[in-house]
Symmetry: C2
Subunit: 404 residues, 2 copies
C-alpha cells in the first residue's frame, strides 16, 4: 500500500500568493463594478523590451527550419548564454565565475525550491524572518523543519533571524549554528540591503562555522546605492561557502518568460565532494533545460540595446517605488525599503494585523498588497506593496490610500 | 557543518545520455574527418510545424505590448491549454479527465523526476527492466532504492520486472508487492506496447494491492495498432490508482521547446489525502509555470492545422522506423519494436555487450546508438536505435551497418 510524503501534511494553508489570488477573485466576483489595483504579487507589468522580442522572433524562425532547428539543449544551458552571464554579471564586477559554474534554469523559484535537495535532511536551516516563503516551504516538504506551532507561526527546527524595525531589518548572526543560511538581498519583502562589508562578515561566518549560504540575488538590478554587493562573489571566500540564485524576472520582466540561473562554484565542497557535480547530476537527471527560444531571450538581455532598454524599465519601476514611498509617508505611514529594491514595506496602522490591513485595503481602496505575516512571524504588523504596477495605477492607488 | 544528500554518492557514473555525449565528443575530436550519424538519444530532427511557429510568433508579439503582456502564469497552466488537452487527449477518447486535473509543466523529464517527491521515502518502487533511467535515478536521489550492487547493476530495494525476448518484453506482475509502479508504454527503450486488456489487468492489480501507477505516455502518438490504449484512463478504475505523464517532445518535436503535462485525478487518494492537492502544492511552491509563449505553442498542437502537420511528422519518423527495422533484419539482426514506437531494439550480435556494440558501431560505422544496459541490467546484450533522424541519415546509417 503506497504512502504519501507526510511532510506535506504539516504545511499550514496554501502557498501565500495562491491565497491572495483566491481572496481577490472572491472580492472581484462580489464587486464587479470595482476597479482593483494590484500591488501585491511581485509581478511585472511592462512589456518585454524590443531587443529581447527581436531575439525571440529570430529564435522561433530558427526552430522552423531543419537546418537551424534545436532539440535538447546542453544539460547546463547554452554556452552563448552562460558566457554572457559570466562576462556581464561576474567578470565585469571582478568576480571570477566561469561559464561552466553557471546552471541555466526555468527560473529562480524552481532553483530556490530544488537546491535543498542536494543537502542532507539533517541540516538545520536559518532564514531571515520575514522572507520569501519558498525557502521554508520547500524545506518543510523535505522534512527539515520539525513541527509547526500555530500559536507562534514558527517551525521547531528552523532558526529564525528576525528582521524588524528594531534592527533596521538586518539579520544578525543566530545564537544557534545553522548548516544552511538563506539570504535574499536586496530582501523580499522588506526591501533591505546590507553593505558589502556586512555581507563579507556573513561569508566569513559561514566559512568559519561550515555553513553554506543560499544567496538569492533576484533583486540585484534595483541596487542604487554604492557599497552594496551585486553578487556574493564580490566577497572574499564566497566561492567556498555560497551558492547564488539569479532570476531574469525582475531585471528583464521575465515572470511569464521563465528564465533564471544558479551559480555553484567548483570550489564549494563538502568533505571531498563537489556540490557543482551534485547539482550537475540533479540537472542532468530531473531537468531538460530552458527552451532554446527563451535562452536566446536571455542572451539579448546582455546586448547593448537590451541593457539600455532594461535600464529604462528599472528606472520606470523605481519611479513607482519613490511615488509609493512618498505618498505613504504623506499619508502618515511608517515606510521602509524602496531605495535598492522594488518593494515598499510599511507598518500597519493602529495595531492592525497584516491580514486585517489586507482586507481593509482591498475593501476600502480596492488595492491589493501582501500581508507581511505571510512572509514569516516577524512580518506580522507589516505589509508589502510592490513597484511593479503601471505608473498610472501606482499614482491612482496612492490617491486612494491617501483618501482613506 | 552542512552535510550533503548522501544518496547522490550512491549513483554509479553519470546520467546515461551525458556519458554518450562525452564519448561521441571524444571520438569526434579524434576523428574530425568522420561524419557521425546520431540515432542515439531520442532527440527529434524535424523542425517545428508551421501552425506552431505561427502561434509562437503571435505570442511573442503579445509579450511586446503592455495591453497583451502576460506575467506569471496560473499555477497549474493556462486554461486555454488545459482545456485543449482535456478535450483532445481525454474526452475525445472517452476518458473523463477535466481541465483542472491537468498540470502543465516544462516537460515530462521534470515530472518523471519530481513526481516521487509527494510519496513516502518508505515506498518500494517497481520498474520495467530495461527502462528510461530517470525513474530509478530520481528514486536513488530520494533514498528509496537501497544499495547498488555493481556486479548485477541492481538496487537492493527496487523491484525489477525484466522485459526480455523470453517474455516478449512485456512486464509480469512482480512476486513482491510494490507501492509505486512505473510503466512506460509504448516502452522506452524496447518499443513494446501491450493491449488495452492487459493494461486493464495492471490497473486492477494496482487497485487490489494499493499501489500507484506512474504511467509515462510520452510515445503515445506513435501507436499504430488497434486495441492499444492511448491513455491509462481508458481503463476502468485507473482514476483511483494512476498518474499519467505526457510530453510534447515526441508528438510535436518539442525537445528544445519544453512542454509536458501530468494528470493527477481528483479521485486518487491515500487515506483521505488527495494527491491532486499535494501535486498542486508542489507546483505552487517549487515551479512557476511553463512560458506563456510555449503554452501557446502547445495549444497550436491541437489546432486543425497543427494536428494535420504533426500527423505527417509522425509518419515521417515511422517511415524511418520501418527503414531501420527492415535494414537491420536484412543485415541479419534480431530486431524488436518500431511498430507502435519510434524505437528499434536489437539484440547485439556475437555475444557483444551493449557498450562493446556501442563502441563497435561508433568506430566502424560512425553511427551512434544507445547501449541497452544503460536502461537497466536486463538491457545488457541489447541496443536501441531511434527513428528521430532525418530520412537521408537513417538510410545512410543503415547502408553503413549493412556494409559491416
Amino acid at each position: 500500500m503506497f504512502q504519501i510524503n507526510d511532510n506535506y501534511q504539516k504545511l499550514p494553508g496554501s502557498y501565500l500568493f495562491s491565497t491572495i489570488a483566491k481572496k481577490v477573485a472572491a472580492f472581484s466576483e462580489a464587486n464587479p463594478d470595482k476597479s482593483i489595483i494590484r500591488l501585491g504579487i511581485g509581478d511585472v507589468t511592462q512589456p518585454i523590451a524590443p531587443a529581447i522580442i527581436e531575439a525571440m522572433h529570430k529564435a522561433v524562425d530558427e526552430m522552423a527550419d531543419a537546418k537551424t532547428f534545436r532539440g535538447y539543449a546542453p544539460d547546463l544551458g547554452y554556452e552563448f548564454l552562460r558566457k554572457a552571464i559570466s562576462e556581464n554579471d561576474y567578470k565585469a564586477r571582478g568576480c571570477d565565475i566561469e561559464a561552466d559554474e553557471i546552471f541555466v534554469s526555468d527560473g529562480a523559484k524552481s532553483d530556490s525550491g530544488n537546491i535543498q535537495e542536494i543537502f542532507s535532511t539533517d541540516n538545520r536551516i536559518a532564514v531571515c524572518d520575514p522572507v520569501y516563503p519558498v525557502y521554508v516551504d520547500s524545506n518543510v516538504m523535505a522534512g527539515r523543519t520539525g513541527t509547526y506551532d500555530t500559536a507562534t507561526g514558527m517551525w521547531s527546527n528552523v532558526i529564525y533571524m528576525p528582521c524588524t524595525r528594531e534592527n533596521n531589518f538586518v539579520p544578525e548572526f543566530p545564537k544557534e549554528t545553522p548548516d544552511m543560511i538563506y539570504l535574499c538581498l536586496p530582501n523580499n519583502p522588506t526591501g533591505t540591503t546590507i553593505k558589502k562589508a556586512q555581507l563579507q562578515e556573513w561569508v566569513d561566518y559561514a566559512n568559519k562555522v561550515g555553513a553554506v549560504i543560499i544567496y538569492d540575488g533576484a533583486y540585484e538590478a534595483y541596487i542604487s546605492e554604492d557599497d552594496v554587493a551585486h553578487s556574493i562573489y564580490e566577497c572574499e571566500g564566497a566561492k567556498t561557502c555560497a551558492i547564488e540564485l539569479k532570476s531574469f524576472s525582475k531585471n528583464a520582466g521575465f515572470t511569464g518568460v521563465r528564465l533564471g540561473y544558479t551559480v555553484v562554484p567548483k570550489e564549494l565542497k563538502c568533505g571531498g565532494v563537489s556540490l557543482h557535480g551534485m547539482w550537475a547530476r540533479r540537472h542532468g537527471t530531473k531537468f531538460n533545460g530552458a527552451p532554446y527560444i527563451i535562452q536566446r531571450a536571455g542572451e539579448a538581455v546582455y546586448s547593448d540595446a537590451g541593457k539600455a532598454q532594461l535600464k529604462e524599465q528599472i528606472a520606470y519601476y523605481m519611479k513607482n517605488a519613490s511615488t509609493i514611498k512618498a505618498g505613504l509617508q504623506e499619508a502618515g505611514f511608517e515606510v521602509y525599503g524602496g531605495v535598492n529594491a522594488p518593494y515598499i514595506w510599511l507598518k500597519t496602522p493602529g495595531q492592525m494585523t497584516s491580514w486585517e490591513f489586507f482586507d481593509y485595503l482591498l475593501e476600502k481602496a480596492n488595492v491589493v498588497g501582501t500581508p507581511g505575516s505571510g512572509f514569516g512571524p516577524s512580518g506580522e504588523g507589516y505589509f508589502r506593496l510592490t513597484a511593479f504596477g503601471s505608473y498610472e495605477n501606482t499614482v491612482a492607488a496612492l490617491e486612494r490610500i491617501k483618501a482613506l
